[in-house]
Amino acid sequence: MKKITQWIDRRFPMTAFVKKELSEYPTPRNLSAWWNFGSLSGVVLVIQIITGIFLAMHYKPDAMQAFASVEHIMRDVNYGWLIRFMHSTGASAFFALIFIHMARTLYYGSYRAPRELMWWSGQVLLLMLMATAFMGYLLPWGQMSYWGAQVITSLFGAAPFIGEEIVIWLRGDFTVGDATLNRFFALHYLFPFLIVGLVMIHLVALHMVRSSNPSGINLADKDNIPFHPYFTVKDLFGLSVFLLIYAFFVFYSPNLFIEPDNYIPANPLQTPAHIVPEWYFLPFYAILRAVPDLVGGVIAMGVSVMIFAAMPYLDRSKIPGGARYRPIYRVLFYLFVVNVLVLGYVGAKPPEGWLVPLGQVATVIYFSIFVFLPYISKKEEIWLRAKGLPSVVEELICAEEEEKGKRSQRKNRGKE
């Protein structure tokens, strides 16, 4: 064994790599359970790829056969039901984990310098995940699948001048049809591998800037401990808890995440009385509906997803540690979370009665939080510093300001 390792190491830096990036990789020792969700998402990505490949062995991407082939998987293929429910539940689990992962980043302010690129690669990952989930949802070819795809592809019709052409191009037909199903299948198979690639970049960036931690300060070397065994154990523990919950849904309520209408084969001439997207799109869907104008709604929905990318600039406070040490930011954070839940509720219901104004108010709140954040965060910083911060923190902020000053001086000198 040793000989083989040596043989490899002379040609490929295996041992050194494992040591540097895994076993001895220095990790803040104060990471809480909230720092578990990145690795959990990685595990779910693997689950989705494996179950997906096995499903693809039995699935037929053909408008005439797709629905029946899914039922064939459910009834006739050995353990087909299990693989399929793992895959459908896995999609929901993936979003749940990613949303928590994002919420943690927002709460602790982990998006701040120098971790902007982590946050942005994560943002792109979120978009790719959404695209993958959306395309995958068409494949069972049930009523919800069909009309979901019909509505979402229509969104591109809001593009100026060539909207109609884009929609037809995306579908390969005048309505969602066989051509659409086929290409969605091809891309649904491709995207996860692109996601894997981007996850690698996400991880390389992580290992450059290192994990953030609840204190919001970069820890001294002595406060970092090797990843193995401390965090392998921690992550494994988190994984077991996650798998328990996941298994509960897979075995006891796999249909919770599948709309009953999706057990009706797609019918291009009949829209179900009430169509809803998957739960993870509900808040954004509610924003789309809240704007009483097609183009405006599409723009609002797009912005509502993309606006997270601006967080490193919107949050102008220098107080480290995110919401933990920033009472006003904390209030905003919880307001935002509750507001998103309200939007999700509105998105799930038919657009009637008082739900319409409620959705509109929630949409306004959603955007207001982002719009006013620069002002509020600055004010909050001034207030907190006037009130007196612990001297260590104050020193940190001053040091950072000094560092910044020096850098801009150097830049100016470079220009001259």
Binding site: W147, Q150, V151, T153, S154, L155, G157, I168, W169, L170, G172, D173, F174, T175, G177, A179, R183, P268, L269, Q270, T271, P272, A273, H274, I275, R289, V291, P292, D293, L294, G297, P350, P351, E352
Partner: protein, 173 residues
């Protein structure tokens, strides 16, 4: 240019070549991408399903049906005199248009049954259609009354072959 020749060490001498190489490569990539992009557009067999013939004999006044044309639903409504009267006396709300401009024969309304908002198929309700997706309402002329839809329901090209047969997909006018 002649200066460049005299001064072969000029670092800007290669700029032209670099630019040209970049441009040629760019154009080449676009040209190579085109067949792939174009392949995603509707194929010829899809394009060829152009017309649908409909028999109107068994539709009594007040009744309607939905037929497929190019895979799209088309609503056909045999309107009653009352309905015709109501429709021709109003102009629609969001996208005003006279009823007479929307029909060939006032008895027969033929519209594409795709909500102009985001493409759902509205359901028949008492005085028109209602889209379940985001709540757009259309009247018996297919005109938008309220809701997020921006336009009236689109009209397909159609003509009457005889008094009781309709051809959707081609129009003589």
């Amino acid at each position: 240019m002649t200066d460049d020749v005299k001064n072969p060490d000029d670092p800007e001498r290669r700029d032209f070549l670099n630019t040209v190489t970049g441009v040629v490569a760019g154009v080449g990539v676009c040209a190579a991408a085109w067949p792939f992009i174009s392949s995603m557009n509707p194929s010829r067999d899809v394009l060829s399903q152009s017309s649908t013939e409909v028999n109107l004999k068994d539709l009594k006044p007040g009744e309607g049906k939905t037929v497929a044309w190019q895979g799209k639903p088309v609503f056909i409504l045999h309107r009653t005199d009352q309905q015709i009267e109501n429709m021709s006396s109003s102009q629609g709300v969001k996208d005003p248009e006279a009823d007479a401009e929307r029909v060939l024969k006032p008895d027969w309304l033929v519209v594409i049954g795709i909500c102009t908002h985001l493409g759902c198929v509205p359901n028949r309700v008492k005085d028109g259609w209602f889209c379940p997706c985001h709540g757009s309402a259309y009247d018996n002329s297919g005109r938008i009354l309220h809701g997020p839809a921006p336009r009236n329901l689109d009209l397909p090209p159609y003509e009457f072959l005889t008094d009781s047969t309709l051809l959707i997909g081609r129009s003589s006018t």
